[in-house]
Amino acid sequence: MPIVVKDLHYTYNAGTPLATPALRGVSLTVADGEFVALVGPVGAGKSTLLQHLNGLIVPPAGAVWVDGQDLGGRGVDWRAVRRRVGLVFQYPEQQLFADTVYDDVAFGPRNLGLDETAVARRVREAMAAMGLDYDSLKGRSPFTLSGGEQRRVALAGVLALGPRYLLLDEPTAGLDPVGRRELFELLVRLHREQGVAVVLVTHDLEAVARLAEKVVVLAGGRVALAGPPEEVLGASRRADLKALALDAPAAAQLVDHLRRRGWDLPGNLVRDEEVAAAIARAAAQRLARASRPQAPGALAGRAEAQGRSDASGRRERGQPC
């Protein structure tokens, strides 16, 4: 069963002179087990939308259904909703409070009213899923951990609820590249192995291209674009993305660049490996057409080197390479 959002409107400080509209008619669906990326410029309404999906904000106009239950209806069992839909806020380590890592991760399951053996199992599983060593960390104070570890403890605290949907608001903000990659890998594993649906808010379009099954671009409180990554981030949409202050993934920008120089490449390639493979193939063809025949292995290597030098040789202004 999916999460269905229909024509959602939300205004902060409604009815006061400080009223600011955040959502103006958003509709979208998150299927069971789907990996959805939510992108868009600052102030587009991404975080506001997330808070509607587990009922932290009850929709004043429009509707949200979670697994068939209308969150705007009467008699909603909020505990059940929050168990099904886990929400990780930005900088979640700032919500840590307990004396020990164990107690902090156990906070959610205990709120669900589970007995201590079940709580212990949940804590163990959630910490394992977040790549945290249970035995060495369970007794430590969360405040003594490194920033990256704190973040993963906070994520484990949400995972321990056993959600079917996991909503994350920029979970990699402030992490170094290694920490970022590790966190994304953990999310992918969670998604693949346990079938958890993920809604990921991020500005990292490389990660979006690599991970997401569906991309939803939010702008000004409305859905501007939605679809699979190759469609939303593909060449035909690049101008739209730019208008929304979003840069296409680096690999896609490389493709654009080569296409402008006459390379025969499909425009909807957005993932690193696909782009690399396509460039290697196109390069091999180009070289084969050229007079000097060479061994195929050496061709691919040279082609990639040439691709790189092409890209760095003439940089487009305003485009990071």
Binding site: P17, F89, Q94, L96, F97, A98, N111
Partner: protein, 264 residues
């Protein structure tokens, strides 16, 4: 629920009342506090109410907002009314066994309640139409004579400014932490008093941690900008007395004096 905290309830605007110098508004507020307790009589209260109503209409702030500012004093009003009604001796209106409600008691309670509400409405109007920063500057100006007695007025003003500056920041943070813990199944609304207090621990600990971190960051940022002491600092927006301010202040003071003399 958390948004109802009345602090920082300033509503930006460009109405005549917004543009009056903060110092004038502060002085008028203080004068109101005095005159409300000098004036004794319904005609006087009526005149003050008309004055405040005119100011409220002039400010363009919805009256509902002004009324909301009265909410914090309602408890106080209720309490004083009860005490006055029950414990003022005089001509009995109603006698229920040992409890005696006198006409004098009802009258005194009504007067006191009116005075408190007028005062709160005035204070509410001042804070609704004056930015907290301007208000602190005005406060510093008012406290300036106290510097001779060793009162660190500029430092106090600086501290107040910073504290006010962080009220909305911390409120937002509070809101976020409450939501984050609710997302983890925390329940703040049900259970007995002890349970509810205990439910606040997961909120207060992160809030305190973050407040200390912010304070630390702010101190570093100030030191990095060579901040030394608050005295003798210049301002980006220095308030100037204009004719409008003299007129408002003079007119009001004359009005209040007449009221106090006529109905006192």
């Amino acid at each position: 629920m958390l948004r109802d905290i009345a602090l920082g309830q300033f509503i930006p605007g460009r109405s005549p009342l917004h543009r009056v110098d903060a110092r004038v508004k502060l002085l008028v507020g203080l004068a109101l506090a005095a005159v409300v307790f000098v004036v004794d009589g319904w005609a006087g209260y009526g005149a003050l109410a008309v004055y405040l109503l005119a100011a409220a209409l002039l400010s363009g702030v919805p009256l509902a907002f002004v009324a909301r500012g009265l909410r914090p004093v309602l408890w106080l009003v209720a309490l004083t009314v009860i005490f006055h009604v029950l414990f003022t001796p005089g001509t009995p209106l109603v006698a229920l066994g040992p409890v005696l409600i006198s006409a004098e008691g009802v009258d005194a309670a009504g007067r006191l309640a009116t005075r408190l509400l007028l005062l709160a409405a005035g204070a509410s109007l001042v804070t609704l139409t004056t930015s907290p920063i301007a208000l602190t500057d005005a406060l510093e100006w008012l406290l300036r004579p106290g510097q001779r007695l060793g009162l660190p007025a500029p430092e106090l003003a600086m501290m107040t400014t910073m504290a006010l500056r962080f009220v909305p920041v911390l409120l937002e943070e509070l809101d976020r932490i409450v939501k984050a813990q609710r997302a983890r199944g925390a329940d703040f609304e049900t259970g007995g008093a002890l349970r509810r207090v205990r439910a606040l621990v997961p909120v207060l600990v992160p809030l305190l941690v973050s407040a200390f971190r912010r304070a630390d960051d702010l101190a570093t940022a100030m030191e990095a900008r060579c901040w030394q002491r608050a005295a003798g600092r210049t301002r980006w927006r220095s308030a100037r007395w204009e004719r409008r301010d003299w007129l408002v202040l003079g007119g009001t003071l004359v009005f209040f004096t007449v009221l106090g003399w006529r109905f006192g």
